[in-house]
């Protein structure tokens, strides 16, 4: 049974696709009688089957060697686009994480969208994402990975634009699409540029090629930068980070999926192409710089946000920055482990605040307070998610972070310190959010705030349990370091950095005597972080302004110069025709005169070579 399911593992993306197609009858105007809800249940069932399929297949592939299967797609001229799938513990495990989280997110959506009319669209799009991500992790080719990333970009556009009535949603969807598309197209340039050199897009072959490749450093750097750009957009790294902020206007169940796994698709591709990136020191340092800057910058921005979803979304960028650092340090295993623990905790965090947002009708952190006694389930979910995210023993995030820092400690101590600082800031930010929402005084907006109903509580509880079990899973998978070999400084400093973050934040935000809202000493600095480092303004005065201006100028040239020339020719023709018609005077002598003039002009013209000779002679 499991063997059969393993052999048919390529079917996993087909379940959600089938669910998507089955949703069509509930699109507006077709089935009205049942309301839109059945579409959601259909998708839940198909997703659940996908999850089960992956789970059984995982037991079959466990501890087996990875292998590839090939599905021919397009052979034309000398181009062979065959879809290679890699079947390994990691890829099958990744589909299980994706489908599992999607099951939970969809159950959550059943509760969250109770009153919404757009069920069919939301569930179809979530299934679309699931199918896309499952194919992404299974496929073993850079070309197909690029294609799927582009498709997910379209999915993001539609999913963020779910509540398309609101203007912020519309601009958010637009920016998400365009930002990610810029990254994708740089990736396409990399895809195109790589092929003439390697003659393959297969990740396994690329890794083999990269191990012996001798390549012009300039070209390697350019290729590396192009290949990084795709993940850069997906993972919302500086300077492409703004879309994730705006994407928070989308429905929350989609944010669970997006924050937890969709952004991680970029990290996945980055891990896959790491052998090629390692050819160029420039691209490695670019990853260090971008990852480090995003990790620090985004976590600081997160501390300054007053929107509850945005405070979390910037932590997404920050953590993806740490994954970038891990890949730059050539620790791909650690990067994947980090992504795994991060996904589980981030999903739980978003669920936790989702329940709060749902029935408090505000996302403004300053209007929350005192929910601890009213919302114990949400509060515990948030605590467990937060502790799982940062490096606090004994939960999951600690072990993956410990692995990363232990290696960085030796290779790049300064980066290791940076990761420690980021960890502290994240701890600070999470405690701040927790304190503002759950601690403190009850405010008007939180006065009536009953705990959420079961469709939202169930996935939250389940995921809390799972998060608590991550260390046990690691123990089972023998991923925990042995006590004899471990360098004790690393776990200690990690724990200290988390605790310092907690404590500092606790003093401010769990303390009713501290004046809120908290003012940073210098207002411009606070605004700098609160307004996302002024990135929207930066975009507006740079790229948006330039494209807008050039397009207007081009259009003006088109209308007035290119077309104007054509119209001028037309007008001149018409005008000269109109003028010449007055020559038709009906007088014989006028006609004879013009004939004579014409003939003499012709004669001069024809005999010009002869005449010019004469002139020269006369001189």
């Amino acid at each position: 049974m499991s063997e059969f399911l393993l052999q048919t593992i390529w079917m996993v993306p087909l379940y959600p696709l089938a669910g998507m197609i089955l949703t069509i009858p509930w699109s507006p105007g077709m089935i009205r009688r049942t309301g839109p809800r059945p579409s959601g249940y259909v998708n839940l069932i198909t997703t659940f089957f996908a999850f089960l399929h992956g789970l059984f297949a995982l037991t079959a592939i466990w501890n087996q060697a990875p292998y590839q299967i090939f599905i021919p797609w397009l052979q034309v001229a000398n181009l062979d686009l065959t879809l290679p799938l890699e079947i390994s513990t990691v890829t099958v495990g990744a589909t299980v994480v994706i489908t599992g989280l999607n099951v939970l997110a969809q159950i959550f959506a059943v509760g969250y969208l109770e009153m919404d009319w757009g069920w069919a669209r939301l569930f179809a799009l979530m299934a679309f994402f699931e199918a896309g991500m499952c194919s992404l992790v299974l496929c073993n080719s850079l070309f197909f990975s690029y294609a799927i990333l582009e498709l997910l970009t379209l999915g993001t556009y539609l999913l963020v634009g779910f509540w398309f009535n609101q203007s912020l949603v519309v601009t958010g969807a637009r920016d998400a699409f365009l930002t990610k598309r810029v990254g994708d197209l740089f990736l396409l340039m990399g895809v195109l540029g790589l092929y003439p050199i390697t003659q393959t897009w297969n990740f396994t072959d690329l890794a083999e090629w990269a191990s012996t490749a001798q390549i012009d450093p300039k070209l390697a750097a350019l290729l590396g930068l192009a290949l990084i750009a795709g993940p850069l957009g997906k993972c919302a790294q500086f300077p492409f980070h703004l879309w994730l902020d705006e994407a928070m206007e989308g429905p929350l169940p989609a944010s669970i999926l997006r924050n937890a796994v969709v952004v991680a698709t970029g990290a996945w591709v980055l891990v896959k192409i790491q052998p090629v990136l390692s050819l160029s020191p420039v691209s490695e340092s670019a990853m260090f710089i971008v990852g480090g800057a995003t990790a620090i910058g985004a976590s600081l921005i997160s501390v300054a946000q007053i929107d509850i979803k945005r405070a979390l979304s910037y932590l997404v960028s920050a953590y993806m920055g740490i994954v970038f650092i891990a890949v730059a340090a050539e620790q791909t295993q650690t990067a994947l482990l980090l992504t795994f623990t991060y996904s589980l905790s981030m999903a739980l965090l978003v669920m936790g605040i989702g329940g709060v947002v749902w029935n408090n009708t505000t996302q403004d952190l300053t209007q929350y307070g005192g929910l601890w006694s009213r919302r114990p389930v949400s509060a515990f979910a948030f605590i467990i998610g937060g502790m799982g995210l940062i490096a606090l023993p004994p939960l999951g995030g600690f072990w993956s972070m410990q692995k990363l820092v232990e290696q960085l400690w030796i290779s790049n101590p300064s980066i290791a310190v940076l990761v420690l600082i980021v960890n502290g800031i994240v701890a600070f930010s999470l405690t701040r959010t927790f304190g503002l929402v759950f601690a403190g005084q009850v405010k008007p907006m939180t006065y009536r705030s009953p705990e959420i109903h079961w469709p939202m509580a169930l996935p939250m509880m389940f995921l809390s349990g799972l998060n608590l079990h991550v260390p046990l899973l690691f123990l089972q998978w023998q991923l925990l370091p042995s006590l004899e070999t471990v360098n004790l400084t690393v776990p200690l400093s990690l724990a200290v950095s988390s605790l310092v973050g907690f404590a500092l934040s606790g003093v401010i935000y769990l303390n009713n005597n501290w004046q809120k809202p908290v003012q940073l000493g210098w207002k411009p600095l606070q605004d700098f972080f609160a307004y996302d480092l002024y990135t929207p303004t930066l975009y507006k005065v740079s790229i948006v302004f330039v494209v807008d201006l050039i397009s207007r100028v081009m259009y003006a040239i088109d209308r007035y110069l290119v077309d104007g020339l054509v119209n001028l020719t037309g007008i001149v023709t018409v005008f000269s025709g109109q003028t010449l018609k007055y020559n038709v005077s009906g007088k014989g002598q006028f006609y004879i005169l013009s004939i004579l003039l014409g003939i003499s002009f012709l004669v001069i013209l024809v005999s010009w070579p002869f005449l010019s000779q004469l002139l020269i002679v006369s001189k």
Partner: protein, 508 residues
């Protein structure tokens, strides 16, 4: 076999001409639809008999006509013209189906459309240069009338502009062809004047003559395609024409230009093509970027789609420039995919204009609204726009990708700039979709007539085809592979210096 595609529409037009005046609207449409359906099925029949492994012309028909002029009725089809003939038959059906019963002067309208179909099929099938020019010019007359009679407010200006431009294009092509025929005739002693494609292809002209002739032809077909800066007839003609006619113009007629580029420029001047190819790649890039940038500045959705067309035709030239089998296959695929996608876009824009009553971006809003908006039309518009912007899974992506892949090895820099062009395509389609489909529907104006199922059918077919060929692109590309390989076999394009620099270190 092939003559049916040319003469059946003519017979259909004649039948429509003699229909009684009462109930003319319905009867004319029905007759036209039946004829178009027969043509379409006949095309499918040709398709089923077509041998993919044969790179040469198939189903050839030969009938001497005016031998002293070198004109003969010589038809044939190969892998390059086949997709375009299919496109022509498909879009004519769509055009007739979507025209509705409310058209003024229906008998004239439908017979003209059938005549256009005949002329287009004739141009794609003609194997004699003069015969090609004949069909190429003949189809202008019905199209001129179609724009001038059933168009928008500035229809006369647009129609005349269209006529003048394309007539100039025809004259240039005729001049080049005549020169080509005479030169080819004079190189072989004692031969009579002959304009047969194969004969001319087999004679080798002196290189000094090839370049000026090729440039004349390039300008001629460049006007028709159109390529910047010969494009200004396009926005006016496309926008002023009624949506079905715009589909004809942009979907099929423009393909005549690119078809001419492949068949007569690349095919007849292999040596000269190798020399001008780098400039062609730059020309293509300029068209792509120019079309995309000007489209961003548009305020009228139909005009935006029209400008997008300029950019997309640039990709065809980019695919042809390096004269690689892959690039040529990509170019043919891009012609087909652009035809289908543009038809879908024009159709949908037409529906929006008809139901909402405006094409202004600043007025349109919230059409995705499920109850009072146009949800299906919006969904199709999203799909078609994204197909045009090159999202994978839809046919526009794979066609453009094959073009890029075919061109990159020879012209890396122009190809990368064209990739930026697809980025800009994304920009204006997002603007279009955001303003029309997204946003809040204005309650006071949202009393739109219902969209009938019969009005959704053309969009469904076109978008469905876009999707199907995007998932299964070998159905589109396998036809032209052999013919493309044969066509470019003798062309030598010298790659740019950049790629040499790339390869050099590898070989060490």
């Amino acid at each position: 076999m092939l003559s049916t595609l040319i003469w059946l529409p003519v017979i259909g037009a004649a039948i429509i001409g003699v229909l009684p005046q009462e109930k003319a609207a319905r009867n004319a449409r029905n007759v036209a639809l039946i004829v178009a359906s027969i043509i379409f099925f006949w095309t499918l029949f040709v398709l089923s008999k077509f041998s993919i492994s044969n790179p040469g012309f198939q189903f050839t028909e030969y009938l001497p006509w005016i031998e002293t002029l070198g004109l003969s009725y010589h038809l044939g089809i190969d892998g390059i013209s086949l997709p375009l003939v299919v496109l022509n038959s498909l879009l004519i059906w769509i055009v007739i189906f979507s025209s509705g019963d409310k058209i003024a002067r229906p008998k004239l309208y439908y017979s003209l459309i059938l005549l256009v179909s005949s002329g287009l099929a004739g141009s794609f099938l003609a194997q004699n240069l003069l015969l090609f020019v004949l069909f190429y010019e003949i189809e202008l007359i019905p199209l001129y009338l179609l724009i001038a009679i059933w168009g928008g407010l500035k229809r006369e200006y647009a129609a005349i502009k269209f006529l003048l431009y394309t007539a100039v294009s025809g004259i240039l092509i005729l001049a080049a062809f005549l020169a080509l025929g005479w030169l080819a005739g004079s190189t072989i002693k004692g031969s009579t004047l002959n304009f047969d494609y194969e004969t001319i292809k087999s004679t080798i002209l002196p290189f000094s003559w090839q370049i000026p002739l090729l440039i004349t032809l390039l300008i001629g077909f460049g006007i028709k395609t159109p390529l910047v800066p010969f494009h200004t007839w396009l926005p006016d003609a496309y926008v002023e024409a009624s949506p079905p006619i715009a589909i004809l113009l942009g979907g099929v007629l423009a393909k005549l230009g690119t078809y001419g580029l492949v068949r007569f420029c690349l095919g007849l001047f292999p040596d000269a093509w190798g020399t001008v190819a780098p400039s062609l790649a730059i020309w293509a890039t300029a068209s792509v970027v120019y079309g995309a940038l000007t489209a961003i500045a548009q305020k009228d959705i139909k005009r935006m789609v029209a400008y997008s067309s300029i950019g997309h035709m640039g990709y065809v030239l980019l695919g042809l420039a390096p004269a690689t089998p892959l690039g040529t296959v990509g170019a043919v695929a891009q012609m087909f995919s652009h035809g289908v996608i543009l038809a879908a876009l024009f159709y949908l824009v037409g529906v929006v204009e008809e139901k909402v009553g405006t094409r202004e971006l600043d007025v349109l809003n919230g059409l995705m609204n499920p109850i009072r908006g146009l949800p299906f039309i919006s969904a199709f518009l999203v799909a078609a726009g994204m197909a045009s912007a090159g999202i994978p899974g839809l046919v526009g992506f794979i066609a453009e990708f094959v073009v890029f892949q075919g061109a990159y090895a020879t012209f890396p820099i122009p190809t990368l700039i064209c990739v930026v062009g697809t980025m800009l395509t994304g920009v204006y389609f997002v603007i279009l979709l955001n303003r029309t489909c997204f946003g809040k529907l204005d309650n006071s104006t949202a009393y739109y007539p219902k969209v009938l199922w019969s009005e959704r059918v053309p969009a469904l077919i076109l978008v469905g085809l876009t999707f199907f060929l995007g998932v299964q692109p070998s159905w589109l590309m396998r036809w032209s592979e052999q013919s493309s390989t044969a066509l470019v076999a003798s062309v030598q394009v010298h790659p740019e210096q950049q790629i040499a620099k790339v390869i050099e270190p590898l070989e060490k």
